[in-house]
Amino acid sequence: MADRVARLVELPTPRVPKLEVRDLTVSRRQSSGEVVTAARDVSFQVGVGEFVCLIGPSGCGKTSILNVLAGLDTPAAGAAFVGGAPITGPGPERAVLFQEPALFPWLSVRANVELALKLVGVGAAERAERAATWLANVGLTAEADAQPHELSAGMRQRAALARALACEPAVLLGDEPFGALDAQARELLQDEVQRAWMRSEGSSTYLFVTHNVREAVLLADRVLVMSARPGRLVEEVRIQAPRPRGLDDALVARVVTEVHDLLMGEVTP
């Protein structure tokens, strides 16, 4: 089956790694006090300018790995690197799109974006200008002065995308950011993400975690498939369908079917 997938793609050109995890083991303590190993001995690299999706069943530790790369959690074993340097904490060069939009409810949409710019030291006049640009990029110009709770879930997540990208981070980490959205909102946001990545023209590295095969194939240059808990990397699928991609593209649809079969084979015990 992997051979059939390989026929759809070309061989990759080697890239300089931007993100790397080496022999990473992540565990979490459950409310019962029991420590569960979510993922074990995971190693992979994400090249500069590459868009990678990490896919796997619930509980396989994919979100935990992302949190380690974000600098929000520490691994049980192994190490994580950004640009070759060990990750010791979060930093604005690695923006995170959470499953919940995580907008600050006391600030307007515009002020949320401006705060992100303020935190990296952008002056007030430039903040206003860049916030307006990014809100326009995600189609929220008319909603700039609304409070987050006044927006739909899809608009909130687009605002969060604008906030994450306004500082022009080198890395965007997505923790199932489309998971809680309805179908239309999800498609719109996927489109925004894909366009934002294309706009960066190979300077921004995106790593998204998802359990949705269609989403992974639509967005990624490379899909890393993880097994059920304790998660390990079991497969790597390169996708070089032309961009911008749509879910209706024949090539995308065909790869989705094949990766889906692959994943089902891997995760079923």
């Binding site: 600098g71 930093g91 604005p92 995170v96 995580a102 006391w106 303020k118 990296v120 987050p148």
Partner: protein
């Protein structure tokens, strides 16, 4: 606010107050006793008090003491609360002491206040501060600890660390809880101040509590003073804190607006 909305906001409390006055008038008519004068008698005593300036002077002085005590309690209580929210060891060692202060009836401080400060205005203010700052401290600790972890995580990934994280994310996120503390501390300061003024009859000092202490023989004047105390308490609680609190909550989508 539209006129209709103002009516909808203000009508229920006014109806409640009018109902209370009606019940009072009926009970006073039935009892027919000098110990319970009718609303009309108290109303004229209130006008007398306002007319000779004694009530107005007492009200102003009391409000000045209240503003001072409340301001000190808020600054002291909030800063202590923030410090204790940030440091776990400090919180675990000092919070029980603050709880002890909080559950101690503020009147219990009056004798000590008099020993320390004499029969003075300072003793009264001391009682009001000690009676109200613990509520502010406890509410601030609680509010900060209840900030959803997601906001801190989001703030950290945006590059906020240390004090910046607290200033830009944690404290704003804690504001609704801090507001609840303000409202509670205000209530305690008001009660403690009245108790202090009532008991500590400083020579030459006046205030609503002092008036109460002197008006024991004049029931209509006593009730007029009591009415002023009630109105100030309700007005501050309802207008100042209630509306401010709802404004903050509405801005954050924590209030359901039924149109």
């Amino acid at each position: 606010m539209t006129p209709r909305r103002i009516v909808r906001e203000v009508a229920p409390p006014l109806v409640g107050m009018a109902g209370a006055v009606v019940v009072w008038a009926i009970v006073a008519a039935i009892a027919d006793s000098p110990s319970l004068p009718s609303p009309a008698t108290v109303w004229s005593a209130l006008l007398d008090g306002l007319g000779d300036g004694s009530l107005a002077e007492a009200t102003v002085l009391t409000l000045i003491r209240l503003a001072f005590s409340f301001a000190v309690a808020v600054v002291l209580g909030t800063s202590l609360g923030m410090a204790l929210a940030l440091n776990e060891f400090a919180r675990r060692s000092i919070r029980p002491l603050v709880v002890a202060l909080q559950i101690t009836p503020f009147v219990a401080w009056v004798p000590l206040a008099v020993i320390w400060f004499g029969v003075t205005e300072r003793a009264v203010v001391f009682v009001a501060i000690v009676g109200s700052f613990p509520a502010m401290t406890l509410a601030t600790i609680q509010a900060i600890r209840q900030v959803p972890p997601l906001y801190r995580r989001a703030g950290r990934t945006l590059g906020a660390e240390g004090w910046t994280l607290y200033r830009e994310v944690v404290f704003p996120a804690a504001m609704p809880g801090v507001m609840a503390g303000l409202q509670q501390a205000w209530g305690f300061a008001w009660k403690a101040l009245m108790a202090g003024e009532l008991i500590v009859a400083a020579a030459g000092a006046t205030g609503l509590g002092h008036l109460l202490a002197r008006q024991r023989a004049d029931v209509p004047a006593l009730l007029a003073t009591l009415a002023v105390i009630l109105v100030i308490g309700v007005a501050a609680d309802y207008l100042l804190f209630g509306l401010l609190d709802r404004r903050i909550r509405r801005r954050r989508g924590l209030v359901l607006d039924i149109v």
